[in-house]
Symmetry: C2
Subunit: 430 residues, 2 copies
């Protein structure tokens, strides 16, 4: 059922191109719809926000009810089982511990006696976390977005989550409390993004919006970029497994399916140097698929965008991986650290036979928000960097300006910027 390929196959490039090109195309009309919603919320604030929520989520809101109350969060937390709460708490703690290592400090350099240079690091003032509602309401997304913001020191993290027909996922609220989210608003869609970007009477304007969402949310985020910062626009998810014939084919099949069950557009690829191993993974995939509740989605994903590639060598497999720049990369080989230095591009790298991608999805510690669709060539996982910004510090003493002033004046004149030159020369004349 899954396609088996070799680089030497005449159809290889075509098959590979189909997988790469699988991104969702923007359906007709989405941009106009989103533009209208953003303009409406920007112009009419809460009134537009509440009307749109009534229309899309069948929920009547007022300025008194748009924010989820502390009592409601208390009730949600009480409704979560002790074992679920403990698992989410462990995840929050491990995510916080990993991200704490990403923090960077303000520094100042005193190398020169007469010129001080530095870089000041500050958290953003206020961040908005978008959390999808309905079936894709994942408490892990709340943790992966809000915990790094809090670790970065963001004083105010606000969250929006749509609650169609008023239905709230208690695990999402419990995760928000564990992550230290400050305020939660029960709105979603492009209207929530617009409210976060421009502010309404009830929802304060934020500096950055992060978090996953459907095509309307993603389009809205793209449109408000510049007014606020946004995280990356995520495309469909993908996994690449590199294998050298070691390990258990059933484990690899399980990992491929864990990606495939997300989404019909997900892509799961194994590249192995062992043809017999390839065959066993294909067989295990088929038998594991039978027993899967999300079988229809997973099967579609595997059939359309899955592949097992048999490579001549590990070198070829690594080169292929660097060409794909996968979101998730499993090094399911005997000595994963031996090949790590040759991996140039990947969102997250899962080492060896005991590290299924799912470990990273929930609680290993690193973020599960990762660059997709080959953008690991230039994008990084979500992290503390996303929630801070830097300011340069320049401090010349009189002697510093005397020492370097002539060169500043010279370059300014070279560029024809006389007033620039004069701002230096006027200080040296006195």
């Amino acid at each position: 059922m899954i396609q088996m390929l070799r680089f030497s196959d005449p159809g290889f490039e075509a098959a590979f191109a189909k997988i790469v090109a699988r991104s969702e195309t923007l359906p007709e009309g989405v941009e106009e719809t989103v533009r209208t919603i953003i303009d409406d919320v920007r112009r009419r604030g809460d009134q537009a926000l509440f009307e749109l929520t009534a229309r899309f989520d069948r929920l009547e809101l007022t300025s008194g009810t748009v924010q989820v109350s502390e009592a409601e969060i208390d009730r949600a937390c009480a409704a979560v089982s002790a074992v679920s709460h403990a698992a989410l708490k462990l995840a929050a703690e491990r995510i916080a511990a990993f991200h704490a290592k990403q923090k960077v400090e303000t520094w100042i350099s005193t190398t020169e006696e007469d010129v001080l240079l530095g870089q000041m690091v500050r958290p953003l003032d206020r961040v908005g976390i978008y959390v999808p509602g309905g079936k894709a309401a994942y408490p892990s997304s709340v943790l992966m977005n809000a915990v790094p913001a809090k670790v970065a020191g963001v004083p105010e993290v606000i969250m929006t989550v749509p609650t169609p027909d008023g239905v709230v996922n208690p695990h999402v609220l419990a995760a928000a409390r564990l992550a230290g989210v400050d305020r939660i608003f029960r709105v979603g869609g492009a209207q929530a993004v617009a409210a976060l970007a421009y502010g309404t009477e009830s929802i304060p304007r934020v500096d950055k919006i992060t978090g996953p969402g459907n095509i309307y949310v993603a389009t809205a985020k793209k449109m408000v970029f510049g007014q606020v910062d946004i995280d990356m626009i995520a495309g469909p998810s993908e996994i690449l497994v590199i294998n050298d014939g070691s390990g258990d084919p059933a484990h690899i099949a399980a990992d491929l399916l864990s990606q495939a069950e997300h989404d019909e557009l997900a892509s799961s690829i194994l590249i192995t140097t062992d043809e017999a191993f390839a065959g066993k993974v294909a067989a295990a995939l088929e038998s594991q698929l039978q027993a899967l509740s999300r079988q229809t989605i997973a099967r579609r994903s595997i059939e359309d965008f899955g592949a097992i590639v048999v490579a001549e060598s590990l070198d070829d497999a690594i080169a292929f991986s660097n060409r794909i720049a996968p979101e998730h990369l499993e090094l399911a080989v005997a000595n994963p650290f031996e090949i790590l230095p040759r991996i140039r591009h990947a969102g997250a790298i899962f080492m060896g036979h005991h590290t299924p991608e799912a470990a990273g999805d929930y609680l290993a510690g690193p973020n599960h928000t990762l660059p997709t669709g080959g953008t690991a060539r230039f994008f990084s996982p979500l992290g503390v960097d996303d929630f801070i910004k830097k300011s340069s510090i320049v401090s010349f003493s009189r002697s510093g300006l005397e020492r370097l002033g002539q060169e500043i004046i010279h370059i300014a004149e070279l560029e024809g910027l006389e007033a620039h030159a004069r701002s230096v020369s006027i200080r040296l004349k006195d």
Copy 2:
């Protein structure tokens, strides 16, 4: 000529809103023109690129002449005076030294015996630097973009610069050589951005495009974002000077004009607690303007978007600055380090009376590419961070998976993702 304001003026908010809203509006048709150019270069490669260059730059190119030859760069360097070369070299060295301090290393955490976590840092493979041609061909822009990329370790930095009618600025080529640029192509406009983003027969595809440009270049960068990464989209430039009555009014006037001479849309604002000082700056502005070659531009900028605000207190001045989030902030006060900790948002901060902004524009060391238009709330100066990307590393041993596996399985089941749970449980069964 420059408007004088107080917060208590009834017209204050309106005057301030006019300054904030001064961004260039996209002229009718730019988006369609740029879209057409990008599609054309993407489809027809060099052929389209050369036709567009012939049309816009009146320059006939071939695959043999599109790249600037080493001999031509040699000749340009020879044409640059020794004193200019020394000034540019000093700038390149100081920029490299500052940016070297921004580098971060790959790390791995061995806190847990059975779970290794880390973050791998890699430079981007290939970066494209866009350099404007004509009057805005600034060698300092070449240095500020290319040097950080090389400091980050980018193996291949390529540069595009339009050469209308074949005219090249020798200082731009000399700066490129000093910065370590690997290849230079004589193309510009949206067609150069498209070539960098998608590649042509002559120009290789890059991973990120940085550098300033006109409205067509900026629009093209926005359109190819996602296909490649881009730096921020710069709006018109601005300076805010905070003053406490100390220092020389003529110096401050010179600094305000150094911003104003850039562009009619530039904004130069002084906020001072000393009304007499405010008057003296206004007078000095008028007299310095008379002697300025770019008087027409600077006067328009000062009249339309300049202001001197008299504040009741330094506290008020600081609050105003944090509201503006200025690109350039001068703390022209007696004790600038005393108020630094209260500055929340600024691209670059120039400390005290001997640090004109122009020092930072050329060779202090920090980057002159800074967030404009209030985006210092969430964007940072261009730097080494822009030319690297990170990959997370996750490595569980068998015992690590045994220790944490039940919680992973639990969260996966909470989220209804059965195959995720199974990828862990299947490994624990053996």
